[in-house]
Every structure is written in structure tokens, then in C-alpha cells.
Amino acid sequence: MPAVYVRDLTVAYEEKPVLWDLDLDIPTASLTAIVGPNGAGKSTLIKTILGLVPAAAGTIRIFGEPYGRNRKAVGYVPQRGSVDWDFPTDALDVVMMGLYGKLGWIRRPSRRERDVALNCLEQVGMSDFAKRQISQLSGGQQQRVFLARALAQDARLYFMDEPFAGVDATTEIAIVGILKTLRDAGKTVVVVHHDLETVPDYFDRVALLNVKLIATGPIAEAFSRDNLQKTYGGKVAFLDR
């Protein structure tokens, strides 16, 4: 059973198709990059799977079940720019938000949740910044806090929307290390990614997307010059490697 199973998925904003008749299987314990040009529907694909954007048609299963019945198996790292970093809170508090789903309604986080969150901050190398107001963190540090929040969710399947956008080189290396650790621990990680050059180094599998799914599979098979031409329409200069 694949971690993610998508059949005949179509999503439209105001009549305009954003994703068209998409079939996609993502096997468990894999590290998959979703790549494609701007407007290809990469974020929309993730958000539709997570139930944030309604699908016009199609079937989506997470470990064989609809998302609504398997929420606790899934962790999410949104785009860093999607929140207001001037919000009055600190890094530790943001990480604890990853535990709200398991806490359920009304119950407040306790000492136990605090310790879990601290541990997650440590895993991303941010222990020293637990009490730092989030607007005073660099872009890379903010991204690590988001990653720590997802780790706190203790999920089996992770979706991450451009976790490498605008981060420094150290953070990028740290994040790749965490992604590979997750994969090696049997978790499934799906990442919207922009930098084509790093795809073969960072990921096992790729899904090439441009409204339709152009190709998907292990890097060696799917990440070919031919498929990239089809995805980007001949605008990929770096490929002469």
C-alpha cells in the first residue's frame, strides 16, 4: 500500500484547471521531490491532499484511508511566508503547536508537551533559541522552527512546501540531513522543491508536474532530460551537465 494514492485528481480555481487528471503513487519510506515551473500546481497538490483546497474530482488516500481519518499520520510544513512572523510568540511555543492535534480540544500543553517540543528544537539545532521571539530569527532559523513543529507531530508522512526557500547553506544541509534521517526511520517525505540541480543529491524519487503529471518514479528513471523538457518547455539551460 502506498503512503499517498491519488487517482484522476482535478482541481480548478474559478473554472481554470490547476491540476488536471492526475494519478500519483508515493511509496512509503521514500523521499520525493515535487518539481515543476511556477504555477504548475505543486503547492495546490499538497494542499488538496491535506484537504485545504477542495478537489473538483478524483480520489485521494493516505495509507489507504481518506485524509480526514488519518490526520494524525500526517505532518505539514507550510511555506515560511504564509504566516506573520511578527506574531507575539516564541520558537518553543510554535513547535508546541505541532502537538495541538494530539492534545485535542481545550486541553492545554503541559510539561510533557514542552519537553517534546524542546527535544524537536534540539533535533534541528535550535535549542538555544527556544525562548527567542520568532521575528528575531533569521529566515533559516524560522524554517527550522517550522520543521521542528512538524517533527513534534510525530507523523508517518510529511508534506513540506519549499523548506529550502530563502535559507542559508548551513540550514539547507541540516534540513537535508533531517529529511534523510526521517526516510531512514521509515517515514515518507514529500517536498515541493525549486532547485533542479540538487534534486538527484537530496531525493530518491521525483514527480514532475505542470498542471498534468509529466512523470514520476525513481530519480534514475524519471529525472531525465526528456521529461524535464516536457515539464519546463525547453527552458532548462543547466541540464547540459
Partner: protein, 300 residues
């Protein structure tokens, strides 16, 4: 210090003090969420939208009891809110325009109804226009009790759902992936804003009520980087400004209460913007000045 004596023993002053303090606390707390969700103008639209509700409640029942008028105001405010939320979610009209439309249409209707009521030869109608700018001196004990009860219920809900509201305000998308019904939760939180507005009808009035929501929260944000502290400070600033403003308006007879409270709030905001320990700009100047002097010393 006879003013303190009067605050406790004078019937009018005691009602004014208690009523405005209740209002300040409730609107200070709910205002924090409105400001953080960038819904500062929502309060303005909804308070204006409450006016026709007050008028209709009076026209339909002929009664001026606080509960009747508050219910009318709340109903109109909630209807206005639902229309704004639907416009924002289902059409391409942007939120700002949706607020503008509802604010003016509802308030226009309210003013027309108010005029109709005043033209009718009804001796009982006198005083409905005090809802425009508020008149704390007219507060009676039953009103204060009603305000305290519904305000208390609103605060209980905020306390129970504090963690959910916080996540909603910071990252609604993430909240959605956790299974929180973000639309319903957002509607509830905005609905509580209407409760704060209803509490402020007698004291501040519909026209300036939004200041009670936006100003304490904005001032409080300057002093802290923690949401729970911000809410606490905001409630304090709201209660103090409300109390001082209301008492001044009663003692210096004849001034409507709303405008005086707004002036007190303005003072709190300006002071906080300058000297707030978390974001106040005066400390930036001091730091910059120090750095410049430091540089001079090293160069000479």
C-alpha cells in the same frame, strides 16, 4: 480624594466605573485576536452594523430594556458579520470593500430608522441616539450586570479555546491540516467580537467602538512578545482607559463618553508606541544614539 469615595459610594459613578471596566476588559481581550488576525476594521464595520438592530428591536417591542436592545444589536452585528464573511469567501470582492459596504449600508439604515423613531410622537423614544456616541452617565445597575454576565461568558469561551484561537490567528492553514474547522472557529471568534461591541453600546457608542477593540491591543503589543501577556496588558489598558474616560465624561458633564474614552486610549497608544519595552521606538533612537556616540569615541 473624594473621587475614589464617589467611585464606591455614588450610584452613578460606581455603575460607570464598573461598566466601563467590564467593557475595557472584554474588548481588550477580543481586540487582541482581531488585531493579530488583521481584522482591525472588522470591529468598526460590525459596531456600525449594530445600530439598525437597536432601532428595530425598539420598534418591534416598544421596550428599551438593556437586554432587548443588546439582543437587537447582537443580531444585526452577527448578520453583518455573516454577510461580510460570505462576501469574502465566495466572491472576488476584497475584504476591505466588503467591510466598507456592510458598514455604510447598515449604518445608513440605522440612521434612517433612528430618524423615523424620533419623528414618531413617542415620548418613550428619547435617548436612543445616545448609542451613537455613548453616554456612560445613563448606565443603570441592570445594564452593568447584563454587560458583566455576557462579557464573562465571552471570556470563558476565549479561555477554553485559547490554544485553538491562538493557532487560528498564527497559522490557520496548519490549523486546518490538524482537523480544526477553521471557518467555524473564525466565525465564532468574530462573533465574540460582536459580543464586545454590544457591551460597549451604552458606554462608547457604535461610531467609536472600534477604538476600544484596536487601541488597547495595539498598545499592549508594544510591551510584550507573548500572546498571553499581550491579552493581559490589553485588558488592563482597556479597563483603565475606559474607566478614566467614562468618569471624566460624567464629572465634566455633557461630554459624550465615547470621544473621551478614545482620547484616553490615544494617549495610551502614543505612550506605548514610544516607550513600549518590546517594540517602542524610543529605545531604537536611544540605541542608535549610543551607537553613533560610540563610533565618535572610537574615531577620535
Amino acid at each position: 480624594m473624594s473621587i475614589f469615595h464617589d467611585l464606591i459610594y455614588d450610584y452613578t459613578l460606581r455603575n460607570v466605573a464598573l461598566g466601563s471596566a467590564v467593557l475595557g476588559i472584554v474588548s481588550g481581550v477580543l481586540g487582541c485576536f482581531a488585531v493579530l488576525r488583521r481584522q482591525g476594521l472588522m470591529g468598526d464595520a460590525l459596531s456600525h452594523a449594530a445600530l439598525p438592530g437597536v432601532c428595530l428591536a425598539y420598534m418591534l417591542t416598544g421596550s428599551k430594556t438593556p437586554v432587548t436592545l443588546m439582543l437587537g444589536a447582537a443580531a444585526a452585528g452577527w448578520i453583518g458579520m455573516l454577510i461580510i464573511l460570505q462576501i469574502t469567501r465566495r466572491t472576488r470582492i476584497d475584504p476591505g470593500s466588503a467591510l466598507g459596504i456592510i458598514l455604510t449600508v447598515f449604518f445608513g439604515l440605522g440612521v434612517v430608522l433612528l430618524t423615523v423613531i424620533q419623528k414618531g410622537n413617542d415620548a418613550n423614544q428619547a435617548g436612543l441616539d445616545k448609542f451613537l456616541f455613548g453616554q456612560a452617565a445613563a448606565l443603570v445597575e441592570s445594564q452593568v450586570v447584563t454587560m458583566a454576565v455576557i462579557g464573562g461568558i465571552a471570556l470563558l469561551i476565549v479561555t477554553a479555546l485559547y490554544k485553538e484561537f491562538k493557532l487560528l490567528a498564527f497559522d490557520a492553514e496548519f490549523a486546518g491540516t490538524l482537523g480544526l474547522r477553521t471557518h467555524a472557529l473564525g466565525t465564532l471568534l468574530t462573533g465574540l467580537l460582536v459580543v464586545a461591541i454590544v457591551i460597549g453600546l451604552n458606554t462608547v457608542g457604535v461610531i467609536l467602538m472600534s477604538a476600544m477593540l484596536v487601541a488597547p491591543a495595539s498598545a499592549a503589543r508594544q510591551w510584550t512578545n507573548s500572546l498571553s501577556h499581550m491579552i493581559l496588558y490589553s485588558a488592563l489598558i482597556g479597563a483603565l482607559s475606559g474607566l478614566v474616560g467614562a468618569v471624566l465624561s460624567v464629572v465634566e458633564t455633557g461630554v459624550p463618553t465615547g470621544p473621551v474614552i478614545v482620547l484616553c486610549l490615544a494617549a495610551a497608544v502614543i505612550f506605548s508606541l514610544l516607550f513600549g519595552s518590546a517594540q517602542g521606538i524610543a529605545w531604537d533612537w536611544v540605541r542608535r544614539l549610543k551607537r553613533r556616540n560610540g563610533m565618535k569615541e572610537t574615531t577620535t
